[in-house]
Symmetry: C2
Subunit: 199 residues, 2 copies
């Protein structure tokens, strides 16, 4: 196995720190100490903390986009079953660090203090998630599995809002109950008028 | 008009800072400089940053609980109209600082790094909001205005999850659109089976 590069080790540590402590709560000094990398190396790779966060976000977003596109294209499952699995998967994803977290949400929380470039990147990764999920919702509507009266893009945005809220409540102590609520209300929103006629 | 005490001025500045920059992003030094209070005064009033956040949260939670109990008890409006007004009011509340924010959400984001006492207080203020809202949802169910099949406590928790998610998305650039989604999906969840029979 190839030894991870110094840059990769810093990115991995940054991802864990930002998931656990948020962007503002992540100190570059302690982070570098935890992976035994001198400060000079950090500034060799990254111009600033925001530049570093952009690299962490790129790697995180690529991994989860890949994972979700594989699932969303899995023709062995009905579209609604793929959505259902996604609703379960995002709770597992939130548990990759020691406390429930979502890097998108952590950076969104810090967004008002961030520069235009990083905020733009954050808007893009949210938009990509929305578009992928909206396309799957449309497929499920065509199968009659999801309420045909729902706007797919808006419903996808809604499910992401609800997930980010669940992460926040899980961090505050609700834990798995927050994700159980997320799934329950997401399912009933999607099913609302499925199979029934619309006015 | 009575001049605000030094303690009150620090609490007001802390509330604004934490709403805008989050708990971790709030530096006590710059905050005190902004209200021209020496650091010694701060530690006269507060044992620590967490102790300070507890005081900020107490004042914030009391104000919004008072506001919500007045609205929820307003017999000139039907229960559902009171809920509707609350869904609008919480967007206005989120706009009290320069960027969309909720102190509960900001502290929830930081919660994994906070002490037991402050986390306990945070759980209490979320629980109080849930209970007040659940009681109003029950009233609206008795009037047939809200789906009688919904569990009031769980639905109240869901609406709060959804609001916290909307605040996060609003901070990331969605602005008022995030709150419009919040209201739209909250309304349709509440109305789902209202006036209809249940299986």
């Amino acid at each position: 196995m190839e030894k991870p590069s110094t840059r990769d080790r810093i990115v991995v540590a940054g991802r864990r720190a930002m998931l656990e402590q948020g962007y503002e709560g992540t100190g570059i000094g302690p982070l570098l100490a935890s992976v035994a990398v001198p400060k000079g190396s950090f500034y060799h790779f990254f111009a600033s903390k925001e530049d570093f966060a952009a690299a962490v976000l790129t790697s995180y977003a690529e991994q989860y986009r890949q994972q979700r596109l594989e699932l969303f294209a899995d023709a062995s499952l009905n579209p609604l079953a793929r959505i259902e699995r996604h609703l379960v998967q995002v709770e597992l994803d939130s548990a990759e660090a020691a406390v429930p977290g979502c890097l998108y949400g952590a950076l969104a929380h810090a967004a008002p203090g961030l520069g235009e470039e990083l905020r733009g990147q954050l808007a893009e990764v949210f938009a990509a998630w929305e578009q992928d999920l909206a396309a799957l919702i449309t497929e499920a509507q065509q199968e009659g599995e999801v309420d045909g009266g729902l706007d797919p893009a808006e419903t996808a945005a809604h499910l992401i809002d609800l997930y980010e809220g669940a992460v926040i409540r899980a961090r505050a102590g609700d834990g798995p109950a927050a994700f159980a609520r997320f799934r329950k209300f997401a399912r009933s929103t999607l099913a609302r008028g499925a199979g029934a006629s619309h006015d």
